[in-house]
């Protein structure tokens, strides 16, 4: 059993209170960093730990920090708390249960890149969490852990929260920066990347909440210690958000490299009524659909192994789909999500999600022909590789993999002689194939 390091509030009652967080070693890492370590030394420890971005891309965190442009000032840190991927609900638990460890991670990151201002961009729905975080920030300022000339040094840091207002696209880092600047949340053309041209055109590091929450323990206990958790190339713990057709959905902090089977059956308690798993989405609605074979269930969930199944680990939001669910309905759901959330800036995504939405409506309501399935696949292929940001690419993952890997479900839908009288919203009312 490995130490729990992110969801520590489950083991330490009251960890969301400052005195209790301090009693459990809180802010020792930050104080040590500011008073004894050079900024680059902090970055070096994080580099050596092998920590990779937990928001989805899995990019090495320390390396991202080292890209920060040292010729342009000021620098900014932006914490991505926009958590909006269907199937993801981990950052919310961290910020509710273990807010100070997250804030210490923001502070350490800011020190490492010498930023004096950091913003936490929360999705608008996290209104209450933002109020709570504001209060925690005020407590930290009062206690001397945030503010001017910290611990008697010349280093000053302020952290601010900023609420979004219901736009999935703002989880994309450059769209988030645009939104923070008071504009429409639409992605920028990259490069330049935020470490050279970020918030207000200044060098900026954007990291996910879970990524940042790893940092205090890495600085406190060292890279060696951290690397003992997880796998060689995907070190550390990961919070797996488990949802869909499982008995015990929820967040599970487990080492990277834990198998799907262990997550779904040991931790998640298996599938209701002992039904079979049909498909798994490992990265929320953005995932390719994985056929839940024995081989897939025994695959370790890390950044290297999941791609071997023709999918990505992403933010590790594992949606379980059982044998009673028809895959055309799954795609109907994900496509309508992406169609709604497309920001409209680039044509392939805006038009692609719109027309794919129309096609899946027709297929899903029955009475269409196989030609529609072919057309859907063709439109998806046209979107591929042509979008400004990942949203458009995400929208086709389930479409292409779903048609390819679960073809019989589409054959059933297109062989119905007339449209279903009532739109089938609930998969379990229909026999699967």
């Amino acid at each position: 059993m490995t130490d729990i390091i992110l969801l520590r509030h489950r083991e330490i009652p009251g960890l969301s209170q400052l005195n209790i967080y301090l009693r459990h070693g809180g802010f020792q890492a930050f104080e040590k960093a500011v008073t004894k370590l050079k900024p680059d030394e902090v970055t070096d420890v994080v580099k050596a730990s092998g920590l990779r971005g937990r928001g989805g891309a899995g990019f090495p965190t320390g390396m991202k920090w080292s890209f920060i442009d040292r010729k342009a000032w000021p620098h900014y840190v932006v914490a991505n708390a926009d958590e909006s991927e269907p199937g993801t609900f981990k950052d919310r638990e961290i910020m509710e249960g273990n807010p100070f460890q997250f804030l210490e991670g923001v502070a350490l990151t800011a020190y490492a890149v010498q930023a004096n201002s950091a913003y936490i961009y929360l999705r608008g729905e996290f209104w209450k969490i933002a109020e709570n975080i504001n209060q925690k920030i005020a407590e930290l300022e009062k206690a001397g852990y945030l503010g001017d000339k910290l611990f008697g040094t010349d280093y000053s840091l302020r952290i601010y929260t900023h609420l979004g207002a219901g736009a999935y696209i703002c989880g994309e880092e450059t769209a988030m920066l645009e939104s923070l600047e008071g504009k429409l949340g639409q992605p920028r053309l990259r490069p330049p990347f935020p470490p050279s041209y970020g918030l207000y055109g200044k060098p900026t590091v954007v990291n996910n909440v879970e990524t940042l929450t790893n940092v205090p323990m890495i600085i406190q206990k060292g890279a060696e210690w951290y690397r003992k958790i997880g796998t060689e190339r995907s070190p550390g713990p990961k919070i797996f958000s488990l949802s869909g057709r499982v008995n015990r959905p929820g967040n599970y902090e487990l080492p990277l490299g834990t198998t799907f089977r262990e997550l779904i059956y040991t931790h998640g308690g298996g599938i209701p009524d002992d039904r079979k798993v049909k498909a798994i989405m490992a990265a929320g609605a953005s995932s390719a659909l994985i056929v839940a074979s024995d081989e897939a269930l025994d695959t370790p969930m890390d950044y290297e192994s999941v791609p071997k199944l023709g999918a990505q680990l992403g933010s590790a939001s594992v949606i379980v789909i059982d044998e009673t669910v028809s895959i055309d309905w799954v795609i109907y759901k994900t496509l309508h999500f992406f169609k709604h959330e497309s920001c409209g800036k680039c044509t392939p995504c805006r038009e692609g999600t719109f027309w794919m939405g129309h096609l899946i409506d027709r297929i899903h309501s029955g009475g269409s022909s196989w030609e529609d399935v072919e057309l859907l696949r063709e439109v998806a292929q046209q979107v591929k590789g042509k979008c400004l940001c990942a949203l458009g690419e995400f929208s086709i993952e389930a479409v292409i993999s779903g048609i390819e890997r679960f073809e019989p479900d589409f054959q059933v839908m297109t062989s119905l002689s007339s449209p279903l009288k009532i739109r089938v919203e609930q998969p379990s009312t229909r026999e699967s194939t």
């Binding site: 601010y160 207000y200 919203e425």
Partner: protein, 163 residues
């Protein structure tokens, strides 16, 4: 007038951003404006534009782009049910439709007394606790998780007796 009524709050919001980047305050100021009546009126749009020294069209575009801002009145309470894939796998669609039929309205409509609007929305990061919804009023947002239709109806009844 926002500027008079909330002058302290407005200056507190503006200090969060660099002085020459006032435009960043547009989202928090829109939330402030929405607090009054649950939606943002044209006069407030113009007032925010003036405070931030941008055009009212630019302020209006923000309202149009982001789903949590409204430029038209709705029910006093907006019940927003997530019906995305993970929630739907736990019965969110039936929950939504049963709730609406109990209230005698369609999805997106407001009850005749103007108390409740029911909407289907995108993922709210509560996938393990579906069926769930958030309640949005001008004052803020509140989550209600692991809900039954009965739970939701009794919540609405409490609002009814309170108003």
């Amino acid at each position: 007038m926002l500027a008079e009524k909330y002058s302290n709050e407005i200056s507190a919001i503006l200090t969060k951003y660099p002085a020459e980047r006032k435009r960043s305050a547009v989202m928090p100021l829109l939330y402030l404006a929405q607090r009054e009546q649950g939606y943002i009126a044209q006069q407030e749009i113009e007032e925010i534009a003036e405070i931030l020294e941008i055009s009212s069209t630019e302020v209006g575009s923000i309202i149009g782009f982001y789903t949590l801002y409204y430029d038209k009145p709705g029910g006093k309470y907006r019940i927003q049910v997530c019906t995305d894939l993970p929630c739907a796998l736990r019965g969110a669609d039936q929950f939504l439709h049963q709730l609406c039929s109990n209230l005698g309205i369609k999805v997106g409509e407001t009850t005749p007394d103007g108390l409740v609007t029911v909407e289907a929305v995108m993922c709210l990061a509560a996938c393990d606790k579906a069926p769930m919804f958030q309640v949005q009023t001008g004052q803020g947002l509140e989550y209600h998780e692991n809900q039954t239709v009965e739970d939701a109806l009794s919540l609405i009844n409490r609002w009814k007796s309170a108003s």
